[in-house]
């Protein structure tokens, strides 16, 4: 069996790539996809620990995370569409009309 550390390490790598995506990219949709990647890597850690402790609670939690992610994607993409209608752009650097 593969050691637990490897799975957690892979999860950490995927999480870091997600963070880099949020920080580097300027396209709002790609930032959003990076958030999904981070959620997914957290799910991988959950499943790994569920396997380690032979407990199903982690898997049920992943189920809830998926449901929340689906809701978040629906609302977030609706927000992006609404912003695009107003500003004709989804570059996050252009969305700065709220600064005081």
């Amino acid at each position: 069996m593969v050691p637990i550390q490897y799975f957690i390490g892979l999860s950490a790598i995927l999480f870091t790539i997600g963070i880099l995506g949020v920080l580097i990219r300027r396209n709002a949709i790609i930032i959003f996809m990076s958030v999904e990647l981070m959620l997914n890597s957290a799910n991988l850690a959950f499943i790994t620990f569920a396997r380690m402790y032979q407990s199903l609670d982690g898997q049920v939690f992943v189920f809830f995370v998926m449901a929340v992610a689906a809701a978040e994607v629906a609302v977030g993409l609706a927000l992006i569409v609404a912003i695009f209608r107003n500003k004709q752009s989804i570059d996050v650097d252009q969305i700065n009309s709220l600064h005081g």
Partner: protein, 172 residues
């Protein structure tokens, strides 16, 4: 023992490569397709970890529903590429440095420090099957399950309200 390790290494390479492709590709459509591949490999990793129900839910919900929604919005808006140039020029370098720092820190915690993680025991029969998940979901986690249904309803109404047509005079 050995086939598991080979499978894990191959899947890990594909997962990290597709995540990097998501991060680096210029076109948003390619990013989305790379992310679909990443979700698929993570689903196979779930199978390896004894979670068949979650693996198939991952493929259905993430690779199926969520990514189709993403692709739909990308093609609806027609904004695959943005023009070059960032408002904060130093941000990219700083982001890469801090990202590598975070990765080094997690690697230190996971691999270098002596951990007292218990070793993986072989799964007992029926671990992670839909029957087992459903039993714990509808007994111990019944209330969160119902709250989730309300959350999905609220998200659906919110999405409809946000993207619905407005009256011309109330347009801001």
């Amino acid at each position: 023992m050995i086939p598991d390790m080979i499978l894990f290494i191959l899947l890990a390479i594909v997962a990290v490569t597709s995540a990097l492709g998501m991060l680096l590709s210029r076109s948003a459509v390619y990013s989305a397709l790379n992310l679909v591949l990443n979700f698929g490999t993570v689903a196979v990793l779930y199978l390896l970890l004894g979670a068949p129900f979650i693996a198939l839910a991952q493929i259905t919900v993430y690779a199926g529903a969520i990514m189709v929604l993403f692709l739909f919005v990308i093609m609806l808006l027609g904004v695959e590429q943005l023009r070059k140039g960032s408002a904060l020029p130093w941000q990219q370098t700083l982001a890469i440095i801090s990202g590598l720092l975070l990765l080094a820190l997690t690697a230190y915690v996971i691999f270098i420090r002596p951990m007292t993680l218990p070793q993986v025991s072989p799964t007992q029969l029926g671990f992670g099957t839909p029957g087992a998940i459903g039993e714990i979901l509808f007994n111990k986690y019944l209330l969160p399950f119902e709250v989730t249904s309300v959350l999905l309803l609220v998200a659906m109404i919110g999405a409809i309200v946000l993207t619905g047509k407005r009256e011309p005079k109330t347009k801001t």
